[in-house]
Amino acid sequence: MSRRKFDEMSDYADSGRDRKRRRADAVEIEDRLESLILRVGEKSTSSLESNLEGLASVLEADINNYKSKILKILSDCAVKMPEKTTIYTTLVGLLNAKNYNFGGEFVDMMARKLKEALKACMWKTARYVLRFFADLVNCHVISTNSLLQLLHTFLDTARDDNSPQVRSDTYVYAVLSCLPWVGRELYEKKEQDLERLLKHIEIYVRKRSRKHVPGLRVWRSDRPHPQEEYLDCLWAQICKLRSDMWQEKHIARPYVAFDSILCEALQHNIPPLTLPPHHTDNTYPFPWVVFRLFDYTDCPEGPVLPGAHSIERYLIEEHLHNIVKDYHLERKQCAAFLLDFPLKHKIPLEYMIVEVVLAELFHLPGPRYIEICYGSLLIELCKLQPATMPQVLAQAVELLFDRIDTMNVCCFDRMVNWFSYHLSNFQFKWSWDDWLEASQLDPAHPRAKFIIEVLQRSMRLSYHQRIAEVVPEQFDCFVPHKPVAIYKFANDSAGDLPGSNAAHRLESVIRAKGTAMEVVQVLSELPNPLRENDETDPPYNPLQIQVFVQVLLHLGSKSFSHAFAGISKFLKVFEAVVGGNEEAQMLVLKEMQDVWHHHQQMMVMLSDKFLRTQIVTCATVANWVFSKEMMPEFTKNYIWEILHGTIRKMNKHVARLQREVNEARERRAGNESEDSSSDEEEQRPRPSEEEIERMEEKLEAAQADQKNLFLIIFQRFIMILSEHLVRCDTDGRDFNTHWYRWTIGRLHQIFMMHNSQVERYSQTLSTLLFTQDLDPHILDSFNQPTTRPCAISPWKDPTPQPPDLSSDHPTAREGASTSGLQTPHRKPHLRVLASADRNDSRPLSATCFHCSKANDRGQSK
C-alpha cells in the first residue's frame, strides 16, 4: 500500500513536510473513494454484486478515518443520481449490516437533507430523498413503520386547506412516485397500512381541482389518447401497479442478491419530521399534462410499448427526461446517452425518445430549454441512428399532422418552427404527396395553414425557387410569393401618382449620398393633403411619409443591411416627418407593409428595427396589428412573431429599468451601512437620492407603457371577438369558425407566453376590460387559471414584482385615454350574463381558486 511505503519514507523527512504530505495523501485517498463510489454501477468486467461487495468492504475499512467524507459523497449520490438509487441503497444496506452506527448517521444526514430541501423549495431533491428512504426499507436500513409515518406526514398537507393546491400536489406526487420502489415490500408486510395510505391519496386525488388542466394541454381533444394531468396519470399508473400485485419489471434491484446479509441488519427510524409551513414566497413545480403521442399499435413488431397506465412508462419517461436535463448542453452526448438507454432491448426505445423530446418541446406554458435545443437534439438522434430514427420521427410528424386540428396555438407555432428547421437539415426531403388532400381544404384550416407556414419558414432558411421545386405542383397554392419589394413609384407604372416626381428626385438625392437635410428639403416641397385651410397646420404630412418610406425601403431592398443602414442614416428625417405622432407612426408601418407584403421576414426585421430606433412605439405596433388593413394577414404567424417580439422588448425594457433601480438602491443602502468602501465601490459612486428618484420615475413611465400595451392588445382582442360573435349571432351562423379558433388561440397565447407580466396587471384588466358583461367565451379565456397559469401557483418571477398601478392611478387613466380606449363592444343581449354560477366563478380572477396570495401579490408588495 502506498500509505505504508510513505510512512517508511517519512522517517527521513522533517516533521513539517511530513504533515503536509500526510494531508496530501489523505486528500488523495478521499478522491479515490469518491471516484469509486461515483463509478459503481457503470459498465465493468465483473458483476455489479461483486463490485458492490468489494466497495462495501473497502469503505468499511475506511469508515473510521473518512466517515464524514463518505457520508457526504453517499448522500450526494443519492440525490444527484436518481437512476442509480437501488445501487446506492444496497451499498448503504451492506454498510449498515457491518456498521450499525454508520447506518444511523446516514439516515440522520438524509433526514436533515430532506428538511433543508423542503425548506428551500428544492422539490426534486426532496422527492429523491423520499424515494431513497423508501428503497432503504427494501435494504433493511429503515423500518417499515417509520417510512409509513413519514409518508403520512407528507399526505397531511392534503388536508391543509390554508395552503395552495400546488403545495399538496407536490407532496402527494412525491409519495406516489416512491411507491414503485417500496410498494411490494409494504404490500407484503403492511398491507392494511398501505391500503389506508392509498385511500387517503384517492380521496385527495378525487377532490382536487382540475381547472388548470385544459390550458396546459397540447391538444383540446382526448382522442385518440387522453391527455391527463401528471398527478392523475401517476395515480392511474399506481392503481394499475396495485392491481398487478405491485410487480414491476423496470427497476433493477441488486439488494435481492444480498438478502441473507441484509435481513440480519438492525433497522433505524427516520427522525420525526415536521414539514415547513406554506410561505407566500414559496415556489412549487408548475403542473403539467402528460404528453401522449404513441401507443403500442403505432410501433411495429418488436418489444411492446408499455401502456399509458403502466408504471414502466412513467419510470422510463422520467429517466429519459433526466438524461435530457443532464446533457442538454451537449447535444451529441445527449443523443448518445438517450440511445444507450440501459433497457433498450426491452422497449421500443426510439418511440419513447421521440415522445419524450417532443413532450419537452411542446411543454406548456414554455419549453424548459430554448426550442432549438430540441431541434438540434432530434437532428443528432437521426444522425446517430439513421436506420430507425428518421422513420420514427416521420411517423410522429404524420401523427402530429393528423391531430393538428385541435392543437394549442403555442404548440402549432413551435411545431412549424421545428419542422422547417428539421427539413432544412435534410434537404427538404419529405413525402409531401401524402398531404395532397390538404390543398383542397379551406386555407384557414389548421392543416392547410400548417403547410403554408412550414413552407414560409422553410423559404426563410432556403430560397423561393428551391421551395417551389421541392413540393408537388398541387401545392402551388401554398408556396409563398417570391419575396420581392413592390415599389409604388416605379418608373413605368406611376407616372401621375401624387408625389411621384418628388420620389424620383429623392431617389437621386439619396443615391448621390445626400444628407438628411437635403432629404428633408426635397420632402418639404410636397403639399400636405391633410391641409384644408391655411390656418391650422396638420401634425404630419402623409404624402411625405409615403414618399420617404417607399423610396428608402426601395433603395434599401437589396438586403437587411442595406435597409438598416438607410434607416440609421436618415433617423433625423424620420424624426422630422414622423415625430411622436401615433397616426404618422402607423403610416410608416403601413407603407412598410405596402412595399414588403411579399416578404414576411423583412417585415419582422423592419418593425423590430423601427422599435429599436424608436421611430414607432410598441403601442403603435399593437394598434397596427389589429388595424383593418391587416385583417387579411391577421391569422398568419409572422404577425404574431411581430407582436410577441414587441411585447418581449417592452418586458425586457421594464425588467432592465427595474434591475437598475434595485441595484442603485442596494448600492446606496450598502454604502450607508458600512463606511469602509472597497475599490469597486469607489469606482461606482454611490447614487444620490435624486438620481434614484429619476430612475424610479423612468421605471414608472415604462411600467405605464407596458400596462398600456397590454390594455390595447386585450381591448382590441375583445373588440374583434365581440364583433365576430355579434355578427354570427345576427346572421344565425355558427360562431365557431377557423378564424374564431385561431383568434381565441392567439389570445390564450398572450396569456401563456407573458403570464408573469399580465398577472401584474390582472386587477386593472379585470376592472377595465374583462368585465362581467362580456361574452363568456371571451371572459373564460381571462378567468380560466389555465390560460393564466400564474394564477394557480405562487410562481416566482425572477424579477421582483413592482406594485400594480391601481386602475385609478393617473397614469393608467391617461394611458387609457390616449390609446383611444373606449368601452369595448358589449354583447347586446344576455348569453349567460346574469346566471348565478357566472358570478360564482368571478372570484377566480380576483382571488385565485385556492390561493388568494398569487393575485394580490402585486398590491401587497
Binding site: 451537449e330 452526448q333 418552427n417 437539415n425 432558411l461 438586403s559 443591411s561 426585421m605
Partner: protein, 180 residues
Amino acid sequence: PAYKYQSRKWRCQRTKQRRQFTKRRCHTGVITGINPKNKTSQTMGSRSEQERLLRTSSTLYVGNLSFYTTEEQLYELFGRAGDVKRIIMGLDKVKRTPCGFCFVEYFTREESEQCMRYINGTRLDDRIVRTDWDAGFIEGRQYGRGKSGGQVRDEYRTDYDSGRGGYGKIVQQKILPKIP
C-alpha cells in the same frame, strides 16, 4: 459540481470539449494571423488580452457557408439561438461579393453560447456550418484575405465545391489555360 455525477466517459469528453471551447482558435488566421498586406486587422492587442476577449465575446465567426447564402437566411437560422445584434457578411476583397463566411454578433454572451451549442455543426443550404468564438468585429475584417480576394482556404482547395465557386483558385488557374 454536477459533472461529477456523470459517467467517466462523459467526464473525459467534457474536459476535452472544455479545452477546445476555450482554446484559442485560428479560423484561417483571422484572429491573430499576421498579414502585412492587410494592416487593419493588426490592432488586436496581446495574447492574454485576446483570450480575455474570447471568453467574454458574444461575436461568432461562421465558416463554410455557401457563396449563395444570403443575410436573410443567416438571420433566420442564427435568430433561433437568440436575438441577433448584427450580421456582417464576409466579402471578396476584389469583387465585393459574399465569399463564404460571416460574423454574427448577439446581444448577450449567453445567446452566443447557445448558438455554439446548438447551431454549430448543423446545416444551412445543405452545408455544415462551423461557428467559432471571435474577439469582436473590427472594420476591415469582413474581407477575405486570400490572394485572389476570397478566403485563403478557397485558394488551396483541390476538391470541386459548387457552393464555393467550383475548384480552388490555384487549381482553377492550372485547369483554365488548357481550355482556350
